[in-house]
Symmetry: C2
Subunit: 441 residues, 2 copies
């Protein structure tokens, strides 16, 4: 993408009400624009990151055996009355009346909808286990939206729902999602720590939050250092086996959020040198709640003895849009964002220091075309601005690698490659560039 064709409305300064660094950087880097309170427009570069995150989640959820489907944003109030949550949910639920005066709502979550669906189709134990997921916009009418997309009203969530015959099998499904989450966050270069959690309005008897560590996080967490060194199953993971040993390994060391924190417990359970007090951001939450929804909503099946029993169910959420901000909280410096490679909106940036110089531009154009042929997604700064402006812009938007081409370096037949993360630079011969960026799969 040529920058002259792109839409990257950078701001010199973030608005005063942007309190946290991710919100400031997302505004300054032209990723989002507020549309109304707690509701955002995703500008091209912001959307590109959102889609990368979405795709990582999708692939990992599919790998873990979940089936993708898509529920609508607008739900009928009827199913929420059946589950008993219509009154409980309070003002955070955006309630709507349609032209025929029917009570509708913008889904804040989908336990009711998916349970209603499953109850109407799945009648036999032979059709389960099943775990469904969807990636859909949700709305929660926060009384005071803030922190940009971190605590907004319209947000993108991945939510999955498992349906099993017994509690024991339900726990197997829970474990799969648990491990899938470890893998998902790792792929985004996030240290996500599962912590035992209260289940809140979702309900249930087993629940973990996944909290990533970031200096600028919203709440304190207290963990055992061992958690930072635990292994996460790699790509050859087999989801058909019981993953309880992995879950056990991850849930045994001490880890609590501040609302459950008790100092003497912490000191009793964790050696002085292993005590880590950090700030954290919740990015995922998993629940197992058995028949909490399936019972009132009559989502029952016939078991292998011919008996009708309610399905055992759990739900598994990830804040997709929130992750964009959370990744920035964990990956930035004073010059701007530093995208992990897996979620970067572009693979590489190409900076033409002198577009008016035909020799420099010819070389840049050639690199631009060839890198795209080699399947790199390139942002090409072909604008007539100063070198200083180009450098600080590229640092701000945080593409992992910068290829810098200017009149001086090409005199010596050299180009510069800079790594955004550590600011390391190397000069390579022009002819070597396609060794650095070979054809990708």
């Amino acid at each position: 993408m040529r920058l002259t064709n792109y839409f990257l409305p950078l701001l010199k300064e973030a608005p005063k009400d942007a309190d946290i660094i991710s919100h400031q950087l997302m505004l300054r880097a032209g990723m989002i624009k507020q549309s109304s309170s707690g509701i955002y427009i995703w500008l091209p570069m912001g959307l590109a990151v959102l889609k990368k995150i979405e795709q990582i989640i999708r692939e990992e959820q599919v790998k873990a055996g979940a089936l993708e489907m898509l529920m609508p944003t607008i739900q009928t109030a009827d199913i929420w009355k059946k589950s008993g949550r219509y009154d409980d949910y309070g003002k955070e639920m955006l309630r709507i009346v349609d032209r025929h005066d029917r009570e509708m709502l913008y889904g804040p979550t989908n336990e009711e909808q998916v349970t209603d669906l499953v109850g109407s189709f799945i009648k036999s134990y032979k059709s389960i286990p099943k775990t469904f997921f969807h990636i859909q916009w949700k709305f929660r009418d926060e009384i005071r939206p803030r922190f940009g997309v971190m605590r907004c009203r319209e947000f993108l969530m991945k939510d999955a729902y498992s349906f099993d015959l017994s509690e024991e099998e339900g726990e197997r499904s829970y474990n799969k999602m648990f491990v899938s989450y470890l893998r998902i966050f790792k792929k985004m270069e996030l240290n996500a720590i599962p912590m035992k959690a209260e289940s809140g309005p979702i309900g249930g008897n087993m629940s973990h939050e996944f909290i990533i560590l970031a200096e600028t996080g919203e709440s304190r967490v207290y963990i055992d250092k061992k958690l930072l060194e635990l292994e996460i199953p790699d790509d050859d993971i087999d989801y058909s086996v019981n993953l309880s040993s992995v879950v056990k390994k991850w849930t045994t060391p001490f880890a609590v959020t501040e609302d459950l924190y008790n100092e003497s417990e912490f000191h009793k359970n964790v050696l002085t040198n292993d005590r880590v007090m950090e700030k954290g951001i919740e990015v995922g939450h998993v629940f197992f709640f058995g028949d909490k929804y399936t019972k009132p909503m009559n989502a029952s099946i016939q078991n292998n003895e011919g008996k009708i029993v309610p399905l055992q169910s759990g739900s598994y959420g990830i804040g997709v849009s929130r992750l964009v901000a959370a990744i920035i909280e964990a990956h930035h410096d004073d010059r701007g964002i530093i995208w992990p490679k897996s979620v970067s909106p572009f693979d590489v940036s190409l900076i033409n220091l002198k577009p008016s110089n035909p020799e420099v531009s010819n070389i840049c154009n050639e690199i631009y075309v060839k890198l795209q042929e080699n399947k790199y997604n390139v942002i090409y700064d072909d604008t007539e601005t100063s070198a200083g402006e180009k450098f600080s812009r590229m640092d701000l938007i945080g593409i992992p690698l910068q290829i810098i081409v200017g009149p001086n370096s090409i005199k010596e037949n050299k180009i510069e490659i800079k790594e955004r993360k550590n600011n390391s630079r190397k000069y390579i011969n022009l002819s070597e560039i396609y060794n650095e960026f070979p054809l990708q799969a």
Copy 2:
């Protein structure tokens, strides 16, 4: 995907209120489930098709120079009051009041929102032309939703918006979208005919509907046969040149919808043998409306003479979810759906006629694994049901190719490959299968 792991809740019979064939087939094939009036859940196979269509549109819009972004579903009423459409829009607009009593709405379209955005960022003629698109859920509170996803309330739409300095340049942007649409529908194997249209509530002075021909269409269209033989620019199209000649070629022959139809005009303009009267389904609509929104909303820029002028704008919609139904209307027979290859939820189906036979299952498993390695998305019927049921199920869901493996054929070291479209069958040697399905890019 093994059918035993998939979720494909087929119906023996479509509900009585499913009036049109696409609605019947989508329900029978387990693609959608009604959630409430005019609102649907997309089950895994339905979503797979929806995503394929979305991706074709995305790629073609990007190719035509449009930038993808994403606007939220919930908008503030303020911008609609500015444009003057808040009162005009009537009961089809889903109006919402949030917890702070602010007037909001679920976007039925996005002219206001994008114009507001562009007006706040684009100030100079140097930053244009720009065309943005997004693929987002919309809501129109139809008084009587019907025909399944063809005329529903919550629907997925691709809408693009162009911003130019002058009317002439605006027309260039219009032409790009026009040609992009021809290409998009062709990729889905649809005969889409652009027809001069009234611009209705969107407004403007130039407008074309894209209508696909299908026997079961909702309204009559009258066209000159020549339109069925016109060429569509291929993959090496250059969008940087003025495409008015292509647009002219496509808009010159006679083509009208029934509301503009006049028999004597038709007879005067089209030779008897060239008169085609068919049924049609609207799948896209393009508008050029100049400063209709930019003027009241103050989206103005400085031109190259330093003068402040309103931007010249157009909008370009495609009914993404509606296309799923429209494609079925155009591609089915009495046994079920016949997916065009480009939008099929799976590339190929594999039917194991006897899963209890280890020899048959070993061969099927090997084919299943190897085809996936070769990058084919395979639906593998590994269920213990009768051959008849397997055949009719696969015909119903319409995957273009079926690989059929049973005890009789493997005795002769043969497998059967059936093309869904024309029911043609061939028997090949087992060893030849990977010539038929070589490694794909």
